[in-house]
Amino acid sequence: MSFELLQPDSLPGALKALAQHGDEAKVLAGGTAIVLMLQQKLIAPTVLVSVGRIPDLAYIRSEPDGIHVGPLTTLRDMERSLVIQTHFPLLAQASGEVGNIRVRNQATLGGNLAEADYASDPPTALLALGTQVTATSLRGERTIPLEDFLIGFYTTDLEPDELITDVFIPASAPGSRTTYLKYRSRSSEDRPCACVAAIAAFEAETCTDLRVAVGAASEVPQRLPAVENLARGQALTDELIGEIAAGYADNIDTLEDIRGSAWYRTQMIRIHVVRALEELRNGRR
């Protein structure tokens, strides 16, 4: 294993390095994923661009229309952030479910999204929240909705010369209830076998808006707007909850790995969508 380690101390410096080395370079942030891949010799970049010395990329900034989270913000800081706990409790929950405290102290939001591991907690919560990712290169800046950013296994829409420079999470409707359920099939520190992030707004008993994302069960986390819309203007009865859960279970092409078979994952999706929606209906915030 031999590579050149670059440690630019400015954003333009990092972008220049990425533009110069293209596909041969990999970005190093917290290193929880890329160092493992390097150790296992699954990847062999010739250049590592460490972004840790670039100032001002770790922040959680609240604005009237939502929050901006810097790509170098650690998952631990997201888990502990009062702003995130108050306004986006499911994101605090999902961030706090990753690995163990040592991993969360090191892993960053930008790294988590750029790695695009299918068995990861934050992307599913972020997808339910309607997150937008800003990517910057020397060519300019663009904002990508998370559903278009995550393409497949370990594959994102990022070009080799682009760096994630901001993650924006729009504010949910006032009074929204949210939950994040992680189902593990092996040890307590394991990655999810399946996970569900759900957000619902209500007027009295009537559900006015529902967003459900299911993750770790297929290549990328998924929302099914046609199924979500079944809830709009309706009371979340047991029957309707069952129908929505069946919609997710039946329409997600589940994968098979050491955490469970495709059939098993389909059952786990059904059960956990039911549990998530019951929790929202019964009023947990």
Binding site: K26, M37, Q40, K41, L42, I43, A44, P45, A116, Y118, G152, F153, Y154, T155, E219, L255, E256, D257, I258
Partner: protein, 151 residues
Amino acid sequence: MKIEGSFTLEAPIRTVWDYLLNIEEMSQCIPGVSALETIDTKSYRGELQIKVGPIKAAFGGTVTLLELEPPHRLVAEIVADDRRNASQVKATFTSILKSLADGTEVTYTIDANVRGRLAQFGQAVAQSTAKKMAAAFGSCMQEKIDAGETA
């Protein structure tokens, strides 16, 4: 690890069989295959490049046709290794062709034994990658058959 799938081609079973057995033409439809050489009438040597996100694999190896039951069933053995990733693959590929009213259904089963670094990368990724490759293979074969018919 077992990978199964199927695709349908709009062509008679005999035509599909002939195309499948025309190894040089057929291999052009497998994404990432290059440097195909014929060793003898039943064995071929070639290279296969696969990219999943940041991970790149480059396999070199041989394909040997073990059983041929025209035009219904073929069994091949694949033995390949990737030196950079220190990984080996040994796989049995079985394909069954079935005549339909308006075409031919091609069912495939790959029983693969992967050893080395790529093995830990996981079944989910391998299965999904194989399915995507099979889908691309199917549509490429259809194009070749259509082009052959009109030519």
